[in-house]
């Protein structure tokens, strides 16, 4: 028995059309959509505070709507964390969507990750050694990373769709493998191999040629039309990573290697709620075009505690940009930067740290290396975080006023103020988590 599992999204902003292709032609048993990043949850909590029926994945109607009919027809179970900070409301939205599409579906909602109520002023934050009170920022919400033990009871209901909040990314893929193959939840080596499969799939195109091209050293065919990956998984947890015929991109030894250690620290100890996976013993072998077989990953006992992320309302991030081009562009942009810095300090008495980049001369690596550049096209970027909305607006005004009062020939002002959420990791006892599954019917 082989289980066919595909990846339908690797982050909240991922493409939709390759998931539709997989739903139609993938002959999949499962299609998993990963849509939550570290700070997505905090933004979700802020959205839920503003409207109790919100706080889930904003694109749920488009993303699920694009695949629901094909998945129902092809008996493909969808598993997703699109519930973000409000899985129950996401479930209701999915039910309403299915009804509008004339589909009769069972939608299982998994809850228990939201531990906001347990965060108290005296809760310790191990990253800083301070308490929440001493940290000083308003708590937006807190979520534990749940694992397969949260998803498995939902799969017992044979649902068409499973919607969760925060679960560890690989667990979205591991749970259906454990469910189908009947692995014991303490069969650590099998869980380690299944986790390797999930880890390779969870960022979609990052294993099929995305985030890879570096011509002339590494090239990717049909790069504008990358296929999303799927795995053909064997009962022992070994698998072939591949993509659909006719899609762009490439699955080869190196795309799999690069993704195997993506966001991994110690390759012998990749910690998830389910297992301490060992990727160091993995064998990777090309088996024909766009087919790579992986086997041999290992696993040891899972971590005792669950990782959780506390999100805080961190005020505002103000960013403003203005461009200079032609002869002397870099000198004029540098002059503009010094004007903004002086006025923020001396006129507005601003004590916040302000970053001033000269995009085209130095920006991303400005603290590391100064590229000597003859470019005649330079964009000044000013950025600052502040709890003070007025001060954030002042930075934008100062950059905008370069129109009349800055060096000659500047143009192209843009400015944005966005909420700045911050996060802290804590570790919680598994016994404090109250897992719940609710099955909704359309």
């Amino acid at each position: 028995m082989t289980v066919r599992i595909g990846a339908g999204a690797g982050f909240a902003g991922d493409r939709i059309d390759p998931a539709v292709d997989l739903a139609r032609r993938g002959k999949l048993d499962f299609l998993a959509f990963e849509c939550v990043a570290e700070r997505t949850l905090a933004y979700g909590h802020l959205a839920r505070m503003a409207d109790p029926e919100k706080g889930y994945h904003a694109l749920i109607d488009r993303r699920l709507g694009a695949v629901l009919a094909d998945c129902a027809k092809n008996k493909t179970t969808i598993i997703t964390n699109m519930g973000v900070a409000n899985p129950r409301a996401a479930g209701r939205a999915a039910v309403a969507l299915a009804k509008r599409m004339g589909l009769q579906l069972r939608i299982a909602v998994v809850e228990g990750d939201d531990i906001t109520a347990s965060i108290k002023p005296d809760t310790k934050l191990p990253e800083t050694g301070k308490t929440v009170r001493e940290h000083g920022l308003r708590v937006a919400g807190a979520n534990a990373y749940l694992g397969i033990d949260a998803i498995l009871p939902a799969l017992d209901h044979e649902p068409h769709v499973v919607i969760t909040g925060r679960v560890a990314d690989p667990s979205l893929f591991l749970a259906p493998l454990v469910h189908r193959f009947g692995w014991k939840v303490d069969d650590w080596p099998s869980l380690g191999r299944g986790t390797a499969v999930g880890h390779l799939l969870e960022c979609t195109t990052q294993v099929t040629g995305g985030y890879f091209a570096d011509p002339p050293y590494k090239t990717v065919p049909d790069i504008a039309y990358l296929g999303f990956p799927l795995a053909e998984v064997e009962p022992d947890g070994s698998a072939v990573i591949t993509k659909l015929e006719g899609t762009g991109g490439v699955v080869r030894e190196l795309t799999v290697k690069e993704q195997l250690l993506y966001e991994v620290h110690d390759p012998r100890a990749y910690l998830t709620p389910d297992v301490t996976a060992d990727f160091s013993t993995t064998s990777i072998a090309e088996q024909g075009k766009d087919r790579v077989r992986i086997s041999g990953a290992g696993g040891r006992e899972r971590p005792e505690k669950l990782k959780a992320i506390v999100g805080f309302d961190g005020g505002f991030l103000a960013e403003a940009e203005f461009s200079y081009a032609g002869p002397g562009a870099a000198a004029r942009a540098e002059l503009a930067a010094s004007i903004v810095r002086e006025r923020m300090q001396n006129i507005h008495r601003c004590n916040e740290r302000i970053r001033l980049d000269l995009i085209g001369v130095h920006s991303l690596h400005s603290t590391a290396v100064q590229h000597r550049s003859e470019t005649q096209d330079v964009r000044l970027r000013a950025a600052m975080r502040t709890p003070d909305r007025l001060m954030a607006e002042t930075l934008l005004t100062e950059v905008e006023s370069l129109w009349l009062s800055g060096p000659a020939g500047g143009g192209g002002y843009r400015g944005t103020i966005s909420p700045s959420v911050t996060t802290q990791a804590i570790y919680v006892d598994r016994s404090t988590i109250d897992l719940k599954v609710e099955v909704m019917q359309s």
Binding site: Y217, K218, K257, E258, L261, E263, V264, H265, S280, I359
Partner: protein, 109 residues
């Protein structure tokens, strides 16, 4: 045996990931015959010393000899992490090319 100095980008690829204020960069040689040379050139100390104003903390190197890969974990490397950084590249995704710009010595012609 003659040795030559080349930018790492000519003999290896790299990919960066992030967690909090920690960046991790995996390095993969294109040809397994270059693995030992790259391992000898690209020590944790060398990477830590390469961009001290940006990569401020401890650098740990993990070796994956079976796959001919090296994995560098850089503490205190993301200007405070996504919580505090004002860098456009909050996640340090572009760090892989800072490492690929370093020179290494290889013995293969």
């Amino acid at each position: 045996m003659s040795r030559r100095t080349v930018p790492l980008r000519e003999v290896a690829s790299a990919r960066t990931g992030d967690k909090g204020d920690i960046a991790c960069i995996s390095v993969w040689v294109y040809d397994p015959r270059d693995y030992e040379d790259v391992k000898a050139s690209l020590t944790a100390e060398r990477v830590a010393a390469a961009y001290p104003a940006l990569w401020k903390g401890k650098v740990t190197r993990y070796e994956v000899p079976g796959l001919h890969g090296l994995n560098f974990v850089l503490q205190d490397a993301l200007e405070g992490g996504v919580n505090a950084s004002l860098n456009l590249d909050l996640h340090g995704k572009s760090f892989s090319f800072l490492i690929l710009a370093l020179d290494v010595e290889v013995s293969r012609p």
